[in-house]
């Protein structure tokens, strides 16, 4: 009886446990990792008229 109860408890615990992210980032981090605009270090020459 004890063994059965323990096994059921183990199964239930495992089923309610949720996984965490190992490599992907949390969704709230995505905007921080995105550049909102281009970083321009040199501009192109203007079109000759």
């Amino acid at each position: 009886m004890i063994r059965l109860t323990l096994l059921l408890l183990l199964g239930a615990t495992a089923l309610v446990s949720c996984s965490t992210r190992s490599v992907v980032v949390a969704p709230d981090q995505v905007p921080k990792l995105n550049d909102s605009k281009w970083t321009v270090t040199s501009e192109p020459a203007a079109r000759p008229r």
Partner: protein, 206 residues
Amino acid sequence: MATRGGWVWLAAVLSMLSGCALTDVNLKPPSSGLKAPIPGGNQRQIVVTAPFTDSREIKSRCGVQKGGYGNETAVATCQGEPAQWLADLLASELRASGFTVLTAETGARESALKLDGVLLKIFAEPVVGFWSTNVETDMNVRLVATSKTGLKAERTFFVKGELQSIIWTQGIFNDSVENGTRDLLKKMVEAILDLMNQYPQLGFKR
């Protein structure tokens, strides 16, 4: 109390519930780009270098498969080289937007925009929840834009493709990758249009 048959039945049920996903996942590139192309290319010239430079931290795989407890059970690998298919998809999306896309600088105008991409991350991973699981795909690309007329600019793009499901089979992984890829393509094409509108001399005939 617990008979032999009872133990076998319990073991079978627990085994099924554990969601043992022991088969490796093969991530396919999307077969097409955006459903509705973003207009505005106006036949301006762009050179897209393919493949992108592959600078991923993890190159041996493109993701991970997990069991019902969130335990890692198998790997996800990319079909083909993601640095190649992302460059190809960007080139074809820019064509669909009306740009004239070249694969090499030979024959390009002086004002043509040249794009060099760096793939920093592509990784798919199920985040197992109590009721359902979210297969998340992180994609990170840096674009470096230059022109012979002197432009030098860069921008980093990061997107997360997501798909929620109660099962997470190969098809669900592929749909998550497709969602991420389309989001990435949309962001990159919009950014390229912004840059070329900011410098209208780029890509046109002189």
